[in-house]
Symmetry: D2
Subunit: 469 residues, 4 copies
């Protein structure tokens, strides 16, 4: 397995030359929750590509001065990236730019290939040199080699898709076209819209269309290739309908912003539904329902409505804790959870509390959180998780902790409840996922181990152990 990543992609196609980099800037701001490690923008000024990308948040990488240095352009693409520690290096920043005799290409990619290493081995043995450790470069190579053979960029992309397995939502830019691709299983979301001035916008989530004043048109169909050119939009569907869709259900539970709508389902409503399902499956007598901010709030409201137990604001999240926060580490005087989340004592004191969170990974954070609520006076704590327990690795772009660390791989729900100190604990049943997403066509492999593709046999992480930074 190469680097696992959750990312956001964004692209703009305008008929005329204008300052598209600001549009990408605001679009990436709206997708920042999908990746806080690095970001980048590439614009196309009559075939000349201008790029700026670096490690850091959108607000850190792009200053006013940097934005002003971009020329007017007619196409532009952007990317935000999340990656695990160690692979945090500049060479993995996207969009990736390829300057090739057959034409330029800029790629922004969200997802993970399940056959990345096999492809990489094959490419290296036929003379390729890789500069990054990300799957994106593998995709770029596969497309470039097809391009040498067939000339047209869209045919090259279509041919390349025959070789790629796994999750990939791509926004690409050639000298004259913008191309958006969603993999045939549709693991990751991708949609497009139009601004009042006729500019087309492609984004990982609909919230980014809203941010730049674009009206949502539709999600890309799994397998679809959308080509935006001077002559209009062409949809190539040769890779569609061949396979069942497999949208990642964790997009609804955790990744996506509640104001986004993915494949016709509102993320906010999916979470409300998760809360409702939990209330039905694990009812309890309690005084208040509180959610762990931010992603537990919607489910908490759903639980409250379904159960009739009042919704309350019981935990305040410190909104300034970000990338550069210095964790107390071994300093026993401090409790990391207490610094990040603060209880509203008057809401909790003497109360029987239903606490809604989106997941339990190792259990340590949950344990500290429960301790915090107890100290604030909560009499009973009934924890409800708006997802099933994590039991399996993900090969499609979600960075799940190793099975060794996953508490649910080693303990029953009862044991976990005891370990973290709650009076009762309930996970969303795997069956509920389909209700939440309003479709059977989901990938829930991390919960049930049913992988929609062959899984990698080779996960030699040591291939990339040399830290280049």
């Amino acid at each position: 397995m190469s680097i696992r990543e959750e990312c956001g992609v964004f692209g703009v196609f305008s008929g005329k030359k204008e300052h598209l980099e600001t549009m990408v800037y605001y679009g990436l701001y709206a997708l920042q929750h999908r990746g806080q490690e690095s970001c980048g923008i590439v614009v196309n000024d009559s075939g000349v590509f201008h790029a700026h990308k670096d490690l850091g948040l959108v607000s850190e990488v792009f200053s006013k001065k940097t934005l002003q240095q971009f020329p007017k352009s007619s196409i532009a693409v952007g990317h935000v990236r999340y990656g695990t520690t160690g692979a945090t290096n500049r060479s993995n920043c996207q969009p990736m730019v390829v300057n090739h005799k057959k034409g330029k290409l800029a790629l922004a990619h969200n997802g993970n290939l399940s056959n990345a290493l096999e492809l990489r081995d094959e490419l290296e043995l036929s003379g390729a040199i890789f500069h990054s450790t990300s799957d994106t470069e593998t995709i770029a190579y596969v497309i470039t080699r097809e391009r040498i053979r067939c000339g047209s960029i869209e045919v090259a992309v279509s041919n390349a898709m025959k070789r790629l397995e796994g999750a990939y939502s791509l926004v690409m830019m050639s000298s004259r076209k913008m191309i958006a691709v969603r993999d045939p299983k549709g693991f990751r979301p991708l949609c497009y819209g139009i601004r009042p001035d006729g500019t087309y916008v492609v984004a990982s989530e609909s919230c980014a269309l809203q941010a730049v004043g674009a009206e949502f048109i539709r999600d890309l169909i799994p397998g679809e290739i959308l080509v935006f050119g001077k002559e209009g939009i062409v949809s190539r569907t040769e890779h569609c309908s061949m396979q069942e869709k497999k949208i990642c259900v964790f997009e609804y539970i955790y990744f996506a912003r509640p104001d986004s709508v993915i494949d016709h389902v509102s993320v906010h409503h999916a979470r409300l539904k998760a809360g409702k399902l939990l209330a039905e499956k694990y009812p309890v007598t309690a005084d208040v329902v509180i959610g762990v901010p931010d992603s537990g709030l919607d489910a908490a409201l759903g639980y409250s409505r379904a159960s009739g137990i009042p919704y309350e604001i019981g935990l305040i999240k410190n909104k300034y804790i970000g990338r550069t926060f210095i964790s107390p580490g071994q300093d026993e005087r401090f409790d990391q959870v207490k610094i990040k989340l603060s209880p509203v004592k008057s809401v909790l004191k003497g109360k029987r509390v239903v606490l809604i969170d989106d997941s339990i990974v190792r259990g340590t954070t949950s344990k500290q959180l429960v301790k915090l609520l107890r100290e604030a006076g909560a009499q009973e704590i009934h924890m409800r998780i708006s997802a099933p327990p994590f039991l399996h690795p993900c090969y499609y772009g979600t960075d799940i902790d190793s099975e060794d660390n996953l508490i649910a791989c080693h303990h029953t729900t009862e044991e976990i409840a005891k370990m973290i100190g709650v009076d009762s604990l309930g996970y969303l049943p795997v069956e509920g996922l389909k209700e939440l997403a309003e479709t059977n066509e989901i990938c829930s492999a991390c919960f049930d181990g049913k992988y929609p593709t062959a899984i990698p046999t080779d996960t030699r992480k040591d291939r990339f152990e040399g830290k280049v930074e």
Copy 2:
């Protein structure tokens, strides 16, 4: 008037030498909402003061390396500061350190003196040189001159208080003592607590005590001087009870964090009460109640409960927009409110919406927000403001826009409703403020013009027009 500022102060007194700078670091993180412009920490290592302060957020000013450079100490103080543009310079960063023959002093100050300029003139004419434009240096001078006369730092502080008018919550550190002071009217909050290991902690808000694991003991009484020394805590009350308390009611409405408790009243509960009062005063038939995040959420919940109209999450705030966000400015393609706040369309479409916000200043933001909700399909919008209209300047540390710009100074509520495009509009009545704060002893001068002190006759802002940076 010199610079108006809202700030946060924090101090720690420990019997033994330990790494107090980390405690101040976490305390300031919890108070970051009170000031995002600059911050600083000063620690006392056996009478030697070590300081680090700069422009920026706590996360920007303090790196791991910077924190490690502090020695162990037995007393430490910190500060976060908000200031208006133009005065954003390093010389105004706090805590201020005074190296004087009569002894060292470090001061952290929250509030504004109403007689600052008079004192400054007097001091300059008797040979003082000011390096900053903040009131804090004036306070330092007044205390220092008393100290020359009387020796003891606590007597100097007490004597100095006779000269100071207006708002000041101070945390100070001398060679051997920590001194906390709340002005006789108690404009700004100040409280203290104790950690399990016996360390005393003073903070602007109780949320910061929670963050560092300290148990809340009590708020300082208005006028109280608390002296923390090797022999224990001494409370000097010679300035207490002479005057009526005048806690700033806007602390409850906007400044403070909902998990803080100020003068026995929970901020969250005060906001729930504001929502309840609005529901009683301005009832309406509607489908959902939504709050403008973050400070409108509690009041929205209060309105929902009192009215029976369901609470909903209808607006998502982009949590990455901070100090360095580049505003679209004159670029008409973008709507600043749309970038910062995003509607959950499925929640709003076809609905009659009660919208709760904490204030309307110029009206422009409210207008854009209303437009946003309309576009998202809201059928009716009934706006409720959890504060009365702003009508007057504040001389005690709140940076209110000039009367020229305050929409309520020039228009009736009905006119404002029409201007911003809502179906109805209701402000919290001034009478409600006392209910919300559960006391008559409040300062609500910005709403009703009833100033608890003489107001400055001299507001020559041009005194400081020379930008020193």
Copy 3:
């Protein structure tokens, strides 16, 4: 033509694990004059490569903290780079690291290939993607493709050399070996030495060996491949002696440091000789000889000795003017030369001055310099240039201005003398170059147009016009 560059390379091979990055750091400091744009260090910790490289001087790119993050290693390579504006981007920073299935490789390169574009085209059409615009990546590709075929890194390097034309002094590092290569014409210098502890050091110039306490062993023979491994040093000479050596004579005149010795000739002595030749060819009656610091000083001393005219220190160079100096540009109040060079008036007043410089490019700087000396009171100025006039482009790594701008391409020496305002002007004759370098085997193509290799037919600079930064 791709980017023209003058660079410095440095490598260390130690039998044991130690902190070699500091040795490379000091080595690069000694080679900083060969490239101020970017630099980098890569160390080899048991086959794992750790790299740090960035734009900037050695002192800017490497902090104490950065150096401390390197692990102990047994091999390490470094690079300093100069490049023309526009190509100043991070992707061109060296040493280049290749992570390939057949083995890792780090390359540091000084020189320019004359067939770079032909090779690049061929590689791209067989599926290569280039990330940089430098020749180094081309070399890396050619070696890597040979490596797939033949396995052994030294055989791959040797085979690759059959494809490479032009100037290349390389220091490379594989998992277990350090390999140094000097091209068969020996355009650029490369030498090696040994430290008292047995560590081998390879460097562009001998001054870098001195800096790290290594004793000079010898220069590499043109075409030689030196392989440093656990078993000792192997010299492969299959590419040697096939062609005449063609050392760049401008290394002696300008590039190299006077304390370096290249191919048995001291740079200081070569310059003294240039001064002597000028004194013999263009004698003049004068009072003082002064050199333009720093590279004109040695030749001035040579002129003084041969002519008997006293040597003087007549121009002081501001030693703080570096990379970040802000040039006065269009501001007519300032004279850029006057800011950089200052006359010692008492030395010049009323004197007949012989002025020694290393080159005249456009003539504008010389003109300003002459004006400066006149203002300081110089009565006569006799300019002597320690090189022949520039008349032709260089394809081997020297960034010479375009012929359009070269004053000597459009004017006779008499015209130039008049244009820059001197009383007489004399250039070193082309014949003198061989005397200076003490050999006929030199490349002086920029002066006489006699190119030692086929020259590029394709110089499409627009291939790389997309600024990626």
Copy 4:
């Protein structure tokens, strides 16, 4: 004693508004050798002062963007500062700006008061608060207190001078005037000139006048106050001629640039003279004379001329080693002198060498240097020092090592010669200093202990031990 410092001051007075900050920028570049620790510029735009100052070199503190932010102005002052470790903090950066009811003042100061601590104590006890540890603030206070009494800034300055003892060359700026002051003993240089456009320029050294195209008018007379105003220049001489001049002779030997002329004596010529005196006093049979760059070069040339022994370039200084160089410290593999200075072996091999340096402080550097030359093959080394031995502390702005560390305080010349490994050693005799400076009116207290003022009784360095940064 407070912080000892060598500094450079610069000021410009123009009749009209123009971009004076660039002029100060280039002026400070020319004075950078006088202080590399911090720098600053303050400009006066119709009475409004705009300042930028920070730690670092001129090239580091001022970016193009920073310079562009300055408004046009009619007066401007600048400063470069050197300070000992520990006091390297921002509050000591100059020019110092005083915003006072009686008028603004910006001060740039070179020198040290010998009664600084006495004045400081007195000021603090009458209510002054000091923000910095530098003497400059003391001077500002003394002037400000006089200003309150007498109104006129020039009278205040003149009255203040009655209180100040020791070395001070000042350039100050009030709302409408520029004032230059040289202390009555003239310890430090200060001169002024005029540009062709009528702009007056004041600078520590004449080299800075040359850099900005100003013609040298004259040095200030010791004790002189020069007032530049709209009406012209007024020279106040009430403090002149009362005392003998005492120019610091070390300005000629080391501090000043060779192209500067101080009190009618060229620094270059003073150094030539030092070389000549050494040749006369300590003749020797040798093959070459070499100087330790940069300040030993002129004296080496003087020695060569007087002795007839050929001048050579035998040591090359690495010109990139600056503020941020990471010293090898305890790493025995490296020799710090070898990294900074490199021998030209062919010049030294088998030669009898006369080596000229400007001082021997602890002896350690000299010892390493001698070892370096021996390794390069020097057969004999005869060291000549262009100054007498350091034996006493300086109270006027030169940071001389403590007597404990000064090798000459503990050993005879013969012993020192043996310790550092030279065949012979000769120091400039104290009597020679007067010849070199062409006057008896010099301060050579560090060599002969004859202090021109009372020396401080109180040198409590611990007063400032609290590191505020």
